[in-house]
């Protein structure tokens, strides 16, 4: 934090290092922060340990909060303090703009490997002509449904949100009449956090209501289509969705769906592997489709998510850390993660790989959903994105919890976003 002090310390460390310096060949310990949604932590551990065995270094895994919002807060504190506790960070697709200062340029270590990955993600991860993170897996919101329940009640997979609402209500009522009184129609992420921004953006975009802020920085959120989308979602709470959905993140929604207590779920692809694991009550009963359209003239829309690996510039062993990041993002490791954990590769050729498609049939059928997902306005809002998203999820949460209707809330949101962006000057 204080350059003078830091320089003094560095000097002292150098002197000390010279005194006790021993020739190389010493193994470094690299810490990596991985998420823990579904089987994520286990996969990360296996991958990192395979790298350790190959390279002779050791790895230490650091547990991080499940909520992206809380994880970002933790990272920001660690990085702002210049802490070297974590060498490799798993960062969200919306963070490169916010955290770029703290990461090293990976180009010297990548040997051009980034060319294999989806170019949109590589571009997203490139800040000031520095590749600050390697794409690890991509994400888009998708719809999970219970094949067995839809079949039993003679329903088809819904094409529009309106159809989903009707189907969910009908199946829920019929099942409850049979005594299955814990069953809900639809679970999703309604807690006031980044996940709600993703869900709400999908509803609004599928209605043709835009993506909050357009590419030129104009705030487009205050429109009738967006308000209609939010009002529709507010109608679910307490009818086809449990009232507690207002405090659900990904894992809470998966908990309800995987115990067999929901007909539909909106979630990321990671939920596929645990839902079909050996001990899952809904094994082989789950289908996956693109999220519904917002009415007949709407479109299917999934929010672009995904995670990258970045190396901290405060790392004591940047070279070993970069080597770990490159190993984990390689095609072989992404293939293993896709097969055992259904994490979407960021390498296009893996979507034609037979083993990957066998484990995740929907990777083929939903390829377009993954490649044309709607992006959150993190590029245009830059360092202010977090504030924009925070206002957006609060405005959405206010509608969902019945405090006000969509139009009122979005009008207020527009004012707040104008404040944040200083009248769209960003």
């Amino acid at each position: 934090m204080q350059p003078g002090l830091r320089a003094a310390f560095a000097g002292a460390a150098l002197a000390l290092g010279a005194a006790v310096y021993q020739p190389p060949a010493k193994a470094a310990e690299i810490s990596i922060a991985c998420g823990a949604l579904g089987v994520e932590f286990q996969l990360c551990k296996e991958g990192a340990e395979a790298w350790a065995a190959e390279s002779g270094h050791t790895v230490r895994l650091v547990n991080t909060p499940n909520s992206t919002t809380e994880r970002l807060a933790l990272y920001q504190q660690l990085l702002a303090a210049g802490a070297e506790d974590i060498d490799v960070f798993q960062i969200d697709v919306i963070w490169p703009g916010m955290l770029a200062n703290h990461f090293i340029d990976l180009r010297p270590y990548s040997n051009g490997a980034e060319a294999e990955h989806f170019s949109a993600i590589v571009e997203n991860n490139t800040v000031d002509d520095k590749l600050i993170a390697m794409p690890w897996f991509t994400d888009a919101g998708i719809l999970y449904y219970r094949k067995d329940l839809l079949e039993a009640h003679g329903k088809t997979v819904p094409e529009t949100w309106q159809e989903l609402t009707e189907t969910a209500a009908a199946v829920q009522a019929a099942e409850r009449a049979k005594g299955n009184d814990k069953l809900w129609g639809f679970v999703w992420q309604g807690k006031a956090y980044e996940g709600l921004t993703c869900d709400a953006l999908e509803w609004i975009d599928s209605f043709g209501g835009g993506a909050i802020v357009d590419a030129k920085g104009k705030i487009t959120i205050n429109n009738d289509k967006a308000a209609a989308a939010l009002d529709m979602a507010a109608g679910w709470v307490g009818t086809i969705s449990p009232p507690g959905v207002l405090n659900y993140a990904e894992e809470e929604a998966r908990g309800v769906f995987q115990s067999g207590n929901a007909v539909f779920m909106r979630n990321w692809p990671y939920a596929w592997a645990p839902a079909n694991s050996a001990d899952s009550p809904v094994r082989d009963k789950v289908g996956v489709a693109a999220l519904p359209k917002g009415g007949p003239d709407g479109k299917n829309s999934g929010t672009l998510g995904g995670w990258q690996l970045a190396v901290s510039k405060y790392s004591a062993n940047p070279e070993a850390a970069a080597s770990l990041a490159m190993y984990l993002t390689s095609a072989a490791e992404q293939k293993r993660r896709a097969i055992t954990g259904s994490y979407n590769p960021t390498i296009a050729s893996l979507y034609q790989d037979e083993e990957v498609l066998y484990a995740n049939p929907f990777f083929g059928s939903l390829y377009d959903t993954f490649t044309s997902a709607v992006a959150r306005p993190s590029k245009i809002a830059g360092a202010k994105y977090n504030r924009v998203s925070n206002e957006f999820w609060n405005a959405t949460h206010a509608v969902l919890s019945g405090k006000m209707d969509g139009a009122t809330s979005l009008a207020q949101l527009e004012k707040k976003l104008k404040r944040i962006s200083r009248n769209e000057r960003w």
Partner: protein, 322 residues
Amino acid sequence: MTQQTLSPTAPAKAKAGGALSLSRSRVRAAWLFLAPMLLVLALVAGWPLARTIFFGFTDADLSDLANYEFIGFANYLEYDEGEWYGLLTDPEWWNAVRNTLVFSAVSVTLETVLGLIIALALNASFPGRGILRAAILIPWAVPTVVSAKMWGWMLHDQFGVLNDMLMGLGILSQPVAWTADPQLAMSAVIMVDVWKTTPFMALLILAGLQMLPSDCYEAARVDGVHPVKVFFKVTLPLIRPAIMVAVIFRLLDALRIFDLIYVLTSNSADTMSMSVYARQQLVDFQSVGYGSAASTLLFMVIAVLTVVYIVAGRVNLGEGGR
């Protein structure tokens, strides 16, 4: 004080020089003994406070703390192209202030009343009193983050034990989302805080009760005064100083509430306190300048309220312990 006690010795004019140097050396010794404490205070309280106030006048950013510019009062209030910006015009800041005041007023009142009742009960002698006194302190001894997380699970709408019990008793017909429902979230937070800090109030008030002279009570008994009247005419006035000091401790604590709210409801606007707001600006939004300005205002709000309380309540902190 040393000089005052020495000066009335009128005939000692000749010795004045000696007395003065004596008093001076005592003053010097006093400063010497105080110095380590003052130094520590300056380091752990003064320096961070000064730094926070200083950052409140800059546009510092968490991602690069070395570079910042001095921007005067712009974090507090600024006029830019026909619009007012800054903390003082931010409705969310005022929402946080209102939440904090509501939380503090309600929770401290409940804790004082409940703490007083518990203290009165524990003041009576009955078998097993020692064990009960220790047991009642348990909620206070559990770290806040742990108890908040524990309550978070107990209040959960799907797996929570509270809903299960209330539904078993037939009070609720369907699960309630205690921490998610905007109408209930603040009440849930207050309930957990009352559960946690009532023992602290009870302990402080009990300490006051234990020091009461027994003769007033004997006199009251001889005169045959009703126990309720004894409580309001004898006990309450006598332990008032202890209660006032206990309340000020709690009030200072409640006004800077952070951990409980953050763990139970994170950044939700329904329960956001001033500290949660400041942290959000500082960490989540990375604006160290704006967040420091919010922290400074938080400090001033607490300072003003404390002064108002001390003046209005005529609290004598010097002998409050009695």
